[in-house]
Symmetry: C2
Subunit: 285 residues, 2 copies
C-alpha cells in the first residue's frame, strides 16, 4: 500500500522582515542598556507573542504619553511616529528609541515631496492603521486615503496626482488601482512604496496557495500584512486559516491526505511558526 | 404587422478632431495665399479622400525634401516633424507650414522633459508610425517603444520609468500596460498623452458596439486611430467592417432587421461619413 501522509509545504519567504528584525533588536538593546523603566508607546509590532516577550522583560506598554514619567526611556512603534508625538516626547525630556521601519520613513518622505510639488496625493491604505496615521500627520492630513475601487470614483479630475501605498498593502490591488487612477489625471506619478518583503511574501504565498488544499497563515490578528496574505489565499479559493499560534489550530481542519501550506507575516517570530509545524507533525506523524 | 427596418445608430463622437481640423485649415489657407507651388511632405493626415482633395487643388505630395525646389512652400504632417527634417527645410529656405497637432507637440515636450530628468522613457506606440518617428528624433532615439505586454517582460528593472503614449493608442491598453510597468520600477511617472478626442471616441464606440449587430468604422486604412476603433468593436465580438468610403460597402453584409452602428476616425471628413449613411438608406429605404 502507498504511504499516504499529510504533506507540509512552506512559503519561501517566512520569518521577520528587515524592518521588524531591526525594530525588535533596537528594543532589546534598549532594555539591556537602560537603567530605569522602559515604556513602549503602543505595540512595537502587531504580534501579541512578541509583545508578551517584552512584557516579561519588564517593558510597560502604554497608549498615551501622559502615562510615562519624565526622563524615562520610550520605545516607539515600527509603524512610524507622528511629528506632533515626537515633539511631545522631546518636551517631556524622554529618552527615545525610534524603531520606525526605514521603509515607512521613506513613505513619509515621498508624501512630503509630492505634497510640496503640487501633486494631489492619493494613498492606498487603511485610514486607522498606525503607519497611515503617522504619514498623514507628516503632511497635515493633505491626502486622500483610499482602500477600494469605489473610492476612486469619488475623486475629481486633477492636473497631477501622486500615488503611494501603505508598505503592507496588496501589490496586485495597488497595480489595479494605479491603472484606474489614470482616468482622473493627465499626470500620474506612482511611487511603489509597498516594501519588498511584502511583495515577495505575497508572490510567494500566491504560488504556494495553488499547490495545496489548506493554508495556514500565521501572524497577529491585527497584522495588516498577515491579513493580506490570508486574503490572497482565500481569493485563490483555497481553505485558509489565519492563526496567531498553535493553540488556535483545530484537529478537524486537516485530514491525512491533505497538502498543507504554511505562510507567515513579517512580524511573526520563528518560534511561533515552529510550534505550529511541530503540532501538525505530532497529529500526523 | 410591425414595421421592421434597418436601424442606424451613430457614435456620439464623429468628424474631424481638433488637431486634424486645424491642420486641414492651415493647409487650405497656405494653398489660397501661396503664389508658387505648394508641396506636402508626406500625407498631411492619414485619410486618402482628404489627400485627394488637396491633390485636386494642385498640391504635390512628395516623400523626400530633395523633390522640393528651393523657396517653395512646404506643408508638413499633422503627425509632427523631426528636428533634423526641420533643419533641412530651413537650410533650403523653404516656406514652412507646420501643421503638427498641438497634442503631438506636447508628447515631444514631455519626452524631452522625462529624458532630461533621468527617467528611462517607455513609449506605447508603433515604431514606424510618423508620430513616434518624430518623437524619437526629438530625444535621439533614447526610449523603449513597446506595443504589447510581452515587450514589457524584456525591460530590465530601473530606478525610475517615464511612460507616455502615441496620441491615438487604446486607452484601456495604456492603462493595463501602466499597471504592468509598475513591476519594473520604484517610481513610475505616467503622462496620459492619448488625446482627449481619441479617448472620447474609444469610449463612445465601446458603448455603441454593445448595442448593435454590425459596426461600420469609417476611416483611412492607414489611420491608427480608426484601426483602434475597429479593434475595440471586434473585441466586443460584434461583426466589424473598417471601410474608407461607401464604395467598399457590400450589400450582403446587412439585413433588414439589423442594427448598424457607425463610427469614424479623427481624420474622416463629414462628406465621406454622409455618403455611407446615404447608401445604407438607399439600400434599406
Amino acid at each position: 500500500m502507498e504511504n499516504i501522509e499529510l504533506k507540509i509545504l512552506l512559503s519561501k519567504k517566512m520569518g521577520f522582515c528587515f524592518g521588524v528584525k531591526k525594530s525588535v533588536e533596537l528594543a532589546k538593546k534598549a532594555i539591556e542598556t537602560s537603567n530605569g523603566k522602559v515604556y513602549m508607546l503602543g505595540p512595537i509590532i502587531n504580534n501579541p507573542q512578541v509583545l508578551e516577550y517584552f512584557l516579561k522583560k519588564g517593558v510597560r506598554v502604554v497608549d498615551s504619553l501622559h502615562k510615562i514619567p519624565e526622563k524615562s526611556t520610550v520605545i516607539t512603534r515600527a509603524h512610524g511616529i507622528s511629528p506632533s508625538v515626537l515633539n511631545q516626547i522631546l518636551k517631556k525630556r524622554l529618552s527615545i528609541i525610534d524603531t520606525t521601519c526605514p521603509y515607512v520613513k521613506k513613505v513619509q518622505e515621498i508624501a512630503v515631496y509630492l505634497n510640496k510639488n503640487g501633486y494631489c496625493l492619493v494613498i492606498f491604505g487603511d485610514k486607522i492603521h498606525p503607519e497611515i496615521v503617522s504619514v498623514l500627520d507628516v503632511i497635515d492630513n493633505n491626502a486622500i486615503v483610499i482602500d477600494s475601487f469605489s473610492e476612486i470614483e469619488k475623486i475629481s479630475k486633477r492636473k497631477k496626482i501622486g500615488f503611494i501605498s501603505q508598505t503592507t498593502k496588496n501589490i496586485y490591488n495597488f497595480q489595479k488601482l494605479s491603472s484606474s487612477l489614470l482616468d482622473k489625471t493627465e499626470e500620474l506619478r506612482i511611487f511603489n512604496t509597498i516594501c519588498k518583503a511584502t511583495t515577495e511574501r505575497q508572490k510567494s504565498v500566491l504560488k504556494l496557495a495553488i499547490q495545496v488544499d489548506i493554508m495556514l497563515v500565521i501572524g497577529g490578528s491585527k497584522s495588516a500584512n498577515t491579513f493580506r496574505l490570508a486574503e490572497i489565499c482565500k481569493n485563490q479559493g483555497v481553505k485558509t486559516y489565519h492563526i496567531e499560534t498553535k493553540d488556535q489550530m483545530k484537529y478537524e481542519w486537516f485530514h491525512p491526505e491533505a497538502k498543507v501550506g504554511i505562510a507567515s507575516g513579517a512580524s511573526t517570530p520563528d518560534w511561533v511558526i515552529n510550534e505550529v509545524i511541530t503540532r501538525l507533525k505530532e497529529w500526523y506523524a
